[in-house]
């Protein structure tokens, strides 16, 4: 059974069909990349999958359950997590507090009104493990807004992993990073192995071809084509979408890599 099934999903903003009739499946353990020029509807599709947006039509099934109208937090509890294209952290809190808040989101103690959160040994141990996995433990007392951008990116990924997801949705995990930092992210995603299924938006082709097993190309809110990395690399239509075509097949796309 597919982990995530997307059936004919569409969303319209007024007259604009940002995503129209998109269908695809993700198998457990798979690493799938979603690419396409700017404005192709990738992030919109992400928001539909994670519940930030509700589709105009179509269905989303996660582990066989219809989650089309489930709330964002309910999906997280079912085992879905996401990162954000623009780093989305608790900027005025320390790194440690970020990790603790991140970890208790699916923890039963999260509604606790009496006990001090910072003295929760179980959470502290989990936070240490989480932060050590992204090499931020030594910086645990730093306020997040004072961290370097690459470190914030790492924390972003750590927070997405805090809820122990089965399906991880990464929205441009290497956005704004240097080449070496980006390579580091690539290794990290690979290290997740098959425990975590990954759906990733990326503009960085090294990341896409380094990580993904299958690629979906989105164009004008529709799936233009899908296939393995090798197929996508050589596909004429993908080239036309990204580079523009002399025949004017994809007029106005103007996408850039």
């Amino acid at each position: 059974m597919a982990l995530l099934e997307v059936e004919n999903i569409s969303v319209h903003f007024g007259g604009l069909a940002a995503v129209s009739n998109v269908s695809f499946n993700i198998e457990p353990g798979e690493r799938l990349a979603l690419i396409g020029p700017n404005g192709a509807g990738k992030t919109t599709l992400f928001n539909l999958l994670t519940g930030q947006l509700k589709p105009s039509s179509g269905k989303v099934l996660f582990k066989g359950q219809d989650i089309t109208h489930a709330s964002v937090f309910a999906r997280t509890h079912m085992g879905m997590a996401r990162s954000f294209q623009i780093v989305s952290l608790f900027s005025y809190q320390s790194v440690l507090v970020n990790a603790l808040i991140g970890l208790q989101g699916i923890h039963k103690s999260r509604y606790g009104l009496v006990k001090y959160m910072l003295r929760d040994q179980e959470l502290q141990a989990a936070a240490r493990e989480l932060l050590e996995s992204v090499e931020l433990w030594d910086l645990r007392d730093e306020i997040v807004s004072s961290l370097a951008y690459g470190q914030q990116r790492k924390l972003e990924i750590a927070l997405s992993l805090a809820s122990k997801p089965e399906l991880l949705l990464l929205d441009e995990p290497s956005c704004g990073l240097t080449t070496s930092e980006s390579a580091d992210i690539t290794t990290r995603i690979k290290e997740l192995g098959s425990r975590i299924t990954v759906l990733m938006i990326a503009h960085d082709m090294d990341l896409v071809f380094g990580v993904a097993e299958r690629v979906i190309v989105l164009h004008y809110g529709r799936i233009a084509c899908e296939g393995t990395c090798e197929e996508i690399r050589t596909d004429q239509l993908v080239k036309d979408i990204y580079m523009g075509s002399r025949k004017g097949l994809t007029a106005g796309s103007g996408g850039k890599l």
């Binding site: 952290l89 808040i101 989101g105």
Partner: protein
């Protein structure tokens, strides 16, 4: 509002590696000092000053209760007096109209009434606050909360048989603690101290609990909180009720303290006080509004003596003055000074 370092509270339980725990320096020590001062003060000061101190404690609690939702959860409410007034009116009505004299029963019932009203008002209020996880302009929420206060104060005027209409309820007796132990005005000081101290302790636990940190997370980044699995609506709604309950406790003590309850204690003019206390005291510290209430009640008293007709201007000037001189609030300034003092001494 940008600098949310939460001076006092964030570091409440610092890592064990530090020599002196920050919680000891920044919370326990100041609180102990303040408590001792308040306890021995009545021995040295005339009774009218101790009644001012009583008022400072009550307003301090009022400001700090607003700070739970404003400073921690990032929800500025313009109608916090609604709860203050509900607590006070409930006390007055229970004593004068229903005839329950016991302080304890009154207290519990008034708190329950305030909690129910907060629960009812919270439903429409949070339909317009941050539903789209940060995409919604808080101005609608502010307008809704203003409306709640005004609505309740109009109701207090209209329901004359119950509330005494526009003149309000007068002659609320001193609290009866049972067992023949009547509270005189001197003893009300200590009763207020105990009630406020207990509330402060409870609020401190709440803002540093798992729940409290979730509120800070919502303040910083509600979208991320939802993605992490938090039902942020429920957090905001619950914090609203909690803040309302503590605001109501302030109102209950105020009703006993002033022995009258007028409709304007539900309305904007009283909400403004809590607003000023949070701004002046700084929303980023736990004890800030308490500090501000000392300044506020002091100035209010001096104004009532020397410039009795100029209060609205002075009140407005206090807002402007605070923003100009200490935009971060007194709490932050005092905390900085205190840290310097402690570091210098050790």
């Amino acid at each position: 509002m940008a600098d949310i370092t939460k001076g006092v509270a964030v570091d409440a339980t610092a890592p064990a590696s530090r020599r002196v725990p920050r919680s000891l320096v920044e919370v326990v020590a100041p609180v102990a000092v303040i408590a001792v001062i308040i306890l021995v003060l009545p021995l040295f000061i005339p009774s009218f000053v101790s009644s001012l101190v009583t008022k400072m404690m009550i307003y301090g609690l009022f400001g700090m209760s607003l700070n739970i939702i404003w400073g921690y959860a990032g929800i500025p409410s313009f109608g916090h007096a609604a709860f203050f007034g509900v607590g006070g009116y409930a006390t007055g009505i229970l004593i004068l109209k229903v005839g329950i004299s016991s302080f304890w029963i009154n207290f519990l019932l008034a708190v329950a009434v305030a909690a129910v009203i907060a629960a009812i008002l919270g439903v429409p209020a949070f339909r317009v606050f941050g539903v789209g996880a940060g995409n919604t302009n808080p101005i609608y929420f502010l307008l809704a909360t203003i409306a709640f206060g005004e609505l309740l104060s109009r109701m207090a005027i209209a329901l004359r048989p119950l509330t005494g209409g526009s003149t309000g309820l007068a002659g609320i007796p001193e609290p009866d603690l049972g067992l023949g132990f009547r509270i005189t005005s001197g003893r009300l000081y200590y009763l207020t101290f105990i009630v406020v101290a207990v509330c402060l302790y409870l609020m401190y636990r709440v803002v540093n609990s798992h729940f409290g940190y979730a509120l800070r997370g919502i303040h910083d980044n509600e979208k991320r909180m939802q993605a992490l699995g938090y039902n942020t609506w429920l957090y905001k709604y619950t914090s609203w009720i909690i803040a309302g309950v503590f605001g109501a406790v302030a109102g209950i003590m105020f009703a006993y303290f002033g022995s009258v309850m007028a409709p304007n204690s539900l309305a904007m003019s009283t909400s403004d006080i809590s607003f000023l206390l949070v701004i002046m005291g700084s929303s980023t510290t736990f004890l800030g509004p308490l500090v501000a209430s000392v300044v506020y009640v002091g100035i209010e008293y001096l104004a009532s003596v020397y410039l009795p007709d100029r209060w609205p201007i002075i009140f407005g000037a206090l807002f402007v003055f605070t923003i100009m001189v200490t935009p971060q609030g007194l709490g932050v300034e005092i905390l900085k000074g205190w840290r310097r003092l402690v570091r210098g001494a050790s």
